[in-house]
Symmetry: C2
Subunit: 110 residues, 2 copies
């Protein structure tokens, strides 16, 4: 189905990207971490996500090598999340989405 | 929750964008139409979506002023979908996602 016409290579690439980024939370978590490493509760507060969902999404982002989880040897242990080099490569996507979101608000949401 | 720290304006903008583009089909439909106006069945075939889902997604994209639906006075009537000016403004988003998808395939999917 992807070879008949149009731009099949692009469609495959966008499918891959959407698979890794699907849902409404992953990109918001990435934006939150772009501004610096954060702890679980800080991310939760900033983007307004439940703990259960955040925990699930962080695991998927880690599997996809977009973020990493560091445990520091304090008492109690401190856990911090940060963006990997591969995660940083999402910069252009985040920037273009953010620009477009602003434009869309003007145009449609009003 | 969006004003305490980080980059609240960007988070709002990306939330807006994700609201308009949520799910795995809308952006694929947009890519399909970037390459030229298409009829319902042509889009369905190209991206591999069911008729029911495609019909639903096209309506939402129309409501968000991203595509338009033209009915031509033939017998039987011809219906064609095309991208609006606002839809064209998604170009940068699609391009950055497509680039990133290729990179992600190399990096993670392998």
């Amino acid at each position: 189905m992807l070879t008949r016409e149009g731009c099949p290579e692009n469609i495959l690439a966008i499918k891959d990207a959407l698979d890794a980024l699907e849902g409404r939370w992953k990109l918001l978590i990435m934006v939150s971490l772009v501004n610096g490493n954060k702890r679980f509760k800080e991310i939760a507060r900033e983007i307004g996500i439940t703990d259960k969902m955040l925990s699930k999404e962080l695991k998927t982002l880690e599997t996809n090598k977009l973020i990493k989880r560091d445990v520091y040897d304090t008492f109690p242990p401190t856990v911090e999340y940060s963006i990997t080099a591969h995660g940083k490569s999402l910069d252009n996507v985040l920037e273009s989405l953010s620009k477009w979101g602003k434009q869309h608000r003007k145009e449609v949401i009003g």
